[in-house]
Point group: D2
Chain length 349, copies 4
Amino acid sequence: RFREDTGEAIGILKTGAFNAITDVPRVKVGQVTLFSSSDIRTGVTAILPHDGNIFQQKVPAAVFVANGFGKMAGISQVNELGNLETPVVLTNTLSVAAGMEGLITYTLAQPGNEKVRSVNAVVGETNDGFLNDITGRHVRPEHVLQALKDAKTGKVDEGNVGAGTGTICFGWKGGIGTSSRVLPSKSGKYTVGVLVQTNFGGVLEIKGIPVGKNLGKYFLSDQLNDPADGSCLIVVATDAPLSHRNLERLAKRAWSALARVGGIASNGSGEYVLAFSTNEKVRIPHNQPGPTQTLEEVHNDAMSPLFLGAIEATEEAILNSLWAARTVSGKNGVSEELPREQVKKMLKR
Amino acid sequence: RFREDTGEAIGILKTGAFNAITDVPRVKVGQVTLFSSSDIRTGVTAILPHDGNIFQQKVPAAVFVANGFGKMAGISQVNELGNLETPVVLTNTLSVAAGMEGLITYTLAQPGNEKVRSVNAVVGETNDGFLNDITGRHVRPEHVLQALKDAKTGKVDEGNVGAGTGTICFGWKGGIGTSSRVLPSKSGKYTVGVLVQTNFGGVLEIKGIPVGKNLGKYFLSDQLNDPADGSCLIVVATDAPLSHRNLERLAKRAWSALARVGGIASNGSGEYVLAFSTNEKVRIPHNQPGPTQTLEEVHNDAMSPLFLGAIEATEEAILNSLWAARTVSGKNGVSEELPREQVKKMLKR
Amino acid sequence: RFREDTGEAIGILKTGAFNAITDVPRVKVGQVTLFSSSDIRTGVTAILPHDGNIFQQKVPAAVFVANGFGKMAGISQVNELGNLETPVVLTNTLSVAAGMEGLITYTLAQPGNEKVRSVNAVVGETNDGFLNDITGRHVRPEHVLQALKDAKTGKVDEGNVGAGTGTICFGWKGGIGTSSRVLPSKSGKYTVGVLVQTNFGGVLEIKGIPVGKNLGKYFLSDQLNDPADGSCLIVVATDAPLSHRNLERLAKRAWSALARVGGIASNGSGEYVLAFSTNEKVRIPHNQPGPTQTLEEVHNDAMSPLFLGAIEATEEAILNSLWAARTVSGKNGVSEELPREQVKKMLKR
Amino acid sequence: RFREDTGEAIGILKTGAFNAITDVPRVKVGQVTLFSSSDIRTGVTAILPHDGNIFQQKVPAAVFVANGFGKMAGISQVNELGNLETPVVLTNTLSVAAGMEGLITYTLAQPGNEKVRSVNAVVGETNDGFLNDITGRHVRPEHVLQALKDAKTGKVDEGNVGAGTGTICFGWKGGIGTSSRVLPSKSGKYTVGVLVQTNFGGVLEIKGIPVGKNLGKYFLSDQLNDPADGSCLIVVATDAPLSHRNLERLAKRAWSALARVGGIASNGSGEYVLAFSTNEKVRIPHNQPGPTQTLEEVHNDAMSPLFLGAIEATEEAILNSLWAARTVSGKNGVSEELPREQVKKMLKR
């Protein structure tokens, strides 16, 4: 991983034990990788906010749409009702429907949901159509169910895995990455965990080193004068008890980390951040007696350390996605991994 | 239809020839109705902005989310890029994914789209789960393809048809409705057409007559103390050349018409308005040479007559949906049609 | 007032004791009317959410921008932080700055605010420039201070008073209006109060009676083919403990009531709704120990009765503004009052 | 300036002739600095999009609210109508009203505006209350008029000048900064210019060098454990012919540059970006014959180079603001300038 391999930290805050989104207690990640024949390079990454019945025990959530050129499903309900009632599924652009079908099937089948007839499936995507036979729509609902079933806490696989199997980032092989930060005690000791699916472009910089420029591969360069497109999906989890409104603010900050590595949110780069809180003090039961609910929430003035944590973790998650990814050949050619040894030399300054 | 049967006009503007969304030149509507066994009561309604390749010749569009409790797909891209690149499909809540699959298959198969690997499918829904076996997910992608194939200009079927087959409105059988308005010459002679899928509640009023109250069926009444939920999808078409921004404004006004018939946008009532312009002067080619495009757009100051037209047409479309709908029994019971003769007596004041 | 004079109710819910925004406990209204020489026809209307130090004890609030053609100040902070830290001031378009100065002076002078150096003044406006010498900017900060000082609970003056002194609505003299609704016990017995400053146009309808059309005065008619412009400011208060998010939803519904009387939100009609909650269980202290706060909030599922209340109260507040207003001559001519006796005859159907 | 003093470039694009917002043809900047007695440390910075009558010849514009904790005036109208009808004024938090008064007076007095009675004054602010006697409200409308009168093309003063006289950035003296980028010919050769008023915090980094950490002054450090608050106002000008929608997208990218220097958009940091286009092909006349207008606009696919330009210019503008600022003592103490020589050593890696 970036930190271990380079000896370089990102930012000033400490990481959690796994330096992963799963450092947020109860969060689980499950992934299914579809890598077969010469052109199936795709998959599913599922994030579960807790291991109960999520529909019956919804979590506060918000989506920030940084660049809406994308097909993420379930956005408007998350932002209207302020909550998430399914796991979050990431996959490829043309498999959002399969992701929804999987989540609906999963939710309807959960004990306690027998009477449910409305499910807001949340599915994000990026376009892996360079390496993957995307129009073949190889992701099926059963892959989603498998990812949900396999989900676990602890270590998270990164790089060419799940929804990151076929993605490309800054012209190099991208994929899934994750990282986390733990706030100091005086700031509440909360954890912020991030998972990214990186498929975007721009002018790669790592800790200010113009890696893209040094390697001659960047937006508007001769070698990479493509539209820098792609996308980036970011999922932010925290155990801080947050309202929808402050989750939306947190999501916005997470996005700004893309600029730190040279992202430009190019026209075709769909960039979405979904943030949720796992804290039980803000959990939202599906059925509630009486008109009111008691909550305990972080107030505005205490949000800034969380903002910093989300930015740092997002930046490191992106770097981890690049660090873990390996060269892949696929439908339309080869996507090479970042030349890590070269980059490490650049970082020794 | 409401106007013919009651002799009552809605508003001050004239209707188009069909008093339908298809009065906007080139707009086509196709519907597939699934009505079988005792509990399949659902379907698909598709609206096509023109009869060319919509992906290659996108139309300016905007979505106004009035109440985001709903699963409409494709929203963020429409609002980010300001355009629509597929037909609009309406169906039931748990069949949005099927709608997307259908639209993706349709788009990929169109001549000229061979290289396409990203499609923003726009699918709206309301929940027909009282009459329909919604968890059975009976709508399939092929039904969407059929609706698209069957689409035609001219007269539009209303009531228990297509996506309106199983919907309920103000406690009575709802469904699909449509209407249109033509502006006076001094306002540009533009046409505004509206199609609605009515599945929402509140306190029904028709031209100010408290129909719901008179019939003892309204939100918070003893007889109908359910949560007034449901939803309403509204599609607004116009041949006025409008920017995304002014289409969003137009969409917002269309929504306000729900209040005119007693809609309250209850918590569970997902209410979305999609508006698009068919005018060729604002058409957006998928590939464009050079960085700029020349357009001709209605400016802000000339928008107000269109706003009035959208409000009037939406109100009348809702009434038409109620007028055309007929009593249906389904999965969980019977939904009765509005007692039109009684209402007509109330209207004679 | 409309209800007393016509014997007609609006909607199905009961009003509060004063049928005014002041039925929400602790809410106070203060108004200063500037009516002098031949062309000063303007003023200030101030609404206070409680009688403590509002900056130190902020209230949850949200602004819904229905049509942003207007100059309302303080919007972004209300929506970002989810609260209101000053009273709300309404005045004319070119006096928003004076309104801000007044609110800042008021806030800085309150005991306990000695260290304050940032104040988010919330000021709404409509354009009274037909009757009023608006470019003379006759409203001064001291008028704001006077309105705040004079604010009281109980009966609220309506019509040509305060910020409504010079406004015009549907071609007739408009002004300030107010109304309230009390929810049934099973819905929490909460009160929703509304105050409006009416200065907008369209095609006036009262309980479905086409008053504007009958009187030959409506948008696009020969007699009134002006752009139907003007504006409408709506303030919604409630003692229901609501989050920012649900206050925004409430505000949105209040706006839809304009369509019920024939409003079209014409291009030039700035339409803004500010909603706040006075409930102490959601009060937001300026300084809070520790990172979290405990709250008790109405959950999503219990919102619908409040939505209905806000719509009914807004409709009746608009009618009250028209009912109380009287013919005024001013800078550019005469604005006539609604011919109430004629309208009452129309209402007897 | 940063580039000249350090020999370091920011990004890959070329700057304009002045490396300033005034590289966009016709854009003018005027500043008034109030620096007197021991505690008046404030001022006004005005940006004019062209030298004609801006009210009569409006320019397309958009505001992106990154963190709405701020008092920026005129936002909703800019975003609703998609245009700017006054110059943009920056000042301190409690002088927004004075800024509005100045802009209204300026606009009403322009030849050709004799009939104007509605003006949307656009005024941004940051809080200079540490150095400045902000509650004294020393900025007056006449200072705004002076700044507008003095406005000129060419070189722009930076640092402790105009609205930057009393601002603080990352714990060091901040102020006004500016920069620009010119796109390659193949991307349209457009210019993007940025002006910033820096008053925000976080963990300062310059080209990836952890300057804040190295100097022991950063958010959450022992030395600087204040809330990292303040604000940042960003104005983006371009001669590319852009729609409101694409200007809003451009504004969003400009904001992301704050993260590149370690900004975290802390809770109390109001961050707003206003972007406008000076291109005559998208100019919006106040009165237009007929309902439509012909425009020529950059289409979505050609936006990405502009996005890159806005990010680079914003980053460099921030650095320029720090580079030009000098140590100042004021009302509540001293704000020291960035130790540039130390930083230059850090940059030699």
